[in-house]
Amino acid sequence: MTSIPVAEGVFTWPADEPQLIGSRCTACGIVTFPAQDSCPRCAAMAMDEELLARRGRLWAWTTQAFPPPSPPYAGPTGADFVPFGVGYVELPGEVKVETRLTEADPDVLRLGMEMELVIVPFRTDDEGNEIMTFAFGPVA
């Protein structure tokens, strides 16, 4: 089975220590994720690629307990659907990224807990490729 990322340019992978690929405005310094061509704060058209921190703190979270509408959702549905956690992780001094969480138990998830980036299998496509995505999980 071949493993491929959910999209190019979202995270560095394969890598021992994968990172999300964001952008930083060369004029005002704001960081975005994913990378974009224009600055949402000062409107400059001068964004540089920025590799983001791998650890941060959980800023907000919920659970996705029902399969999202397809399309656009492309993951498992019906009996194969597994509820997942979703939240924002604040990467210190950079940006808050919205992300799937490897943990979906409300008794475990806590605001402010330390989280780390992982690359995990998301689904298998029609050609049998394993589609990989980024997620954050509690630091062990």
């Binding site: 959910v6 704001i30 029902f66 959702y73």
Partner: protein
């Protein structure tokens, strides 16, 4: 120039097999015209809002092909606020003397969906299952509860109140009261929000007739005056739906901006408002919006809800017709339903759900994707 609303009308909200969105729009327009005592041929302009109906102006085929300027507007769940705002501006500019704002929609059941690229979001955001409005509302109230001490019981009480109010409203979609236990015990959709804490997309239409305040007496002896109407979009740093990322810096949401602008226009404050309509996409949204619109401080909702302050006979009556939770949300019509309800309340015509004490000032707020809010303030 001050603007008056001299008639409102509504097609019931719910599910109506075989009735098209545009037919519901025509029904609401006829009801509003009848309320104002005018004919379609008297109407000089219109603004129409819808998500599902491509061209709300096509309603002229059912009303009469009079050639009037009929502008279609869309701003997500705040669509009706845009229609109201534009209708009021048209009157203020002196361009026309009598016009209508109408909203209509006919949605399929289930959570809203779209191509994330239409919202400037990447495709993978939708593919991964993150382009979901309900999970934003779950995250926002979950964080708010932790930050401000709001309990799960408060969410259930708010939803139960809205179902109870809906039971008193013959035009509501959901008219069966539900207990707090049933609400808390329904399936968890996006923690901490359960199924019965959410509104559903449905069908319906609503309309209002506008004229200069000085002409209002020609049409009714109970005019309602539109004291303010403001629409705002999100600023950088607001915590908003469909955001793959947020900056470190934080600011208030567009509801706060629209609310402040509207109170400024009206020259009054939250303490002057007698009856309130808030966007209760879910029970948590009503809790948050109560503070975002200035009606209480963050965290005060816990005691206010426990004390029944938001009930029809309480000091802060909120969503007296059942709100979105009991009426569902036909996107284009939702904000004009709020105005219809406020007009009934301010005119003393709300029957079983009439707020006591002759309310004089009404307030309506909308919020929706991708971070757009609208506020209207009405008075007798």
């Amino acid at each position: 120039m001050d603007v008056a609303i001299v008639g409102t009308g509504l097609h019931p909200f719910g599910r109506f097999a075989g009735v098209s969105g545009i037919e519901m729009g025509a029904f609401a327009i006829r009801a509003a015209l009848e309320d104002a005592g005018v004919e379609w041929r008297d109407v000089e302009f219109a603004f129409g809002g819808s998500y599902e109906v491509d061209n709300p102006d096509a309603v002229v085929a059912l009303m009469g092909l009079t050639g009037i300027p009929f502008t279609d507007v869309y701003n997500g769940c705040a669509t009706a606020a845009s229609a109201i705002s534009m209708a009021a501006s048209t009157i203020r500019l002196g361009e026309h003397k009598l016009g209508i704002a109408v909203g209509m929609d006919k949605h399929l059941p289930g959570a809203f969906s779209a191509d994330p690229r239409l919202y400037a979001c990447p495709s993978w955001y939708g593919e991964l299952g993150q382009f979901v409005t309900t999970k934003f509302f779950g995250m926002k109230i979950n964080k708010y509860m932790a930050d401000h001490g709001i309990s799960h019981a408060t969410l259930a009480r708010v939803a139960a109140k809205n179902y109870r109010n809906g039971a008193r409203n013959p035009n509501a979609f959901r008219r069966k009261p539900l207990s707090e236990e049933e609400i808390l015990g329904s399936p968890m959709l996006n923690y901490p929000l359960t199924q019965y804490m959410f509104c559903s997309p449905d069908e319906g239409a609503a309309a209002a007739v506008f004229c200069p305040a000085e002409d209002a007496h020609r049409y009714t002896d109970q005019p309602i005056f539109l004291r303010a109407s403001a629409v705002r979009t999100r600023r950088l740093g607001a915590f908003e739906v469909h955001s793959p990322w947020l900056p470190i810096e934080q600011t208030v949401g567009p509801t706060v901006d629209a609310s402040r602008a509207a109170f400024d226009q009206a020259g009054i404050g939250p303490e002057d408002v007698d009856v309130i309509q808030l966007q209760d996409t879910d029970a948590g949204a009503e809790v948050i919006h109560l503070a975002e619109n200035g009606f209480c401080a963050d965290g005060d909702q816990e005691a206010l809800v426990a004390d029944g302050a938001l009930e029809i006979d309480g000091p802060l009556p909120v969503n007296t017709d059942g709100g979105l939770i009991a009426n569902g949300e036909p996107i284009g019509a939702s904000g004009l339903r709020q105005v219809h309800e406020l007009a009934l309340q301010l005119r003393g015509r709300a029957g079983d759900r009439q707020v006591p004490g002759s309310p004089k000032v009404g307030y309506a707020q909308l919020y929706g994707a991708p971070g757009t809010a609208g506020v209207s303030i009405l008075s007798t």
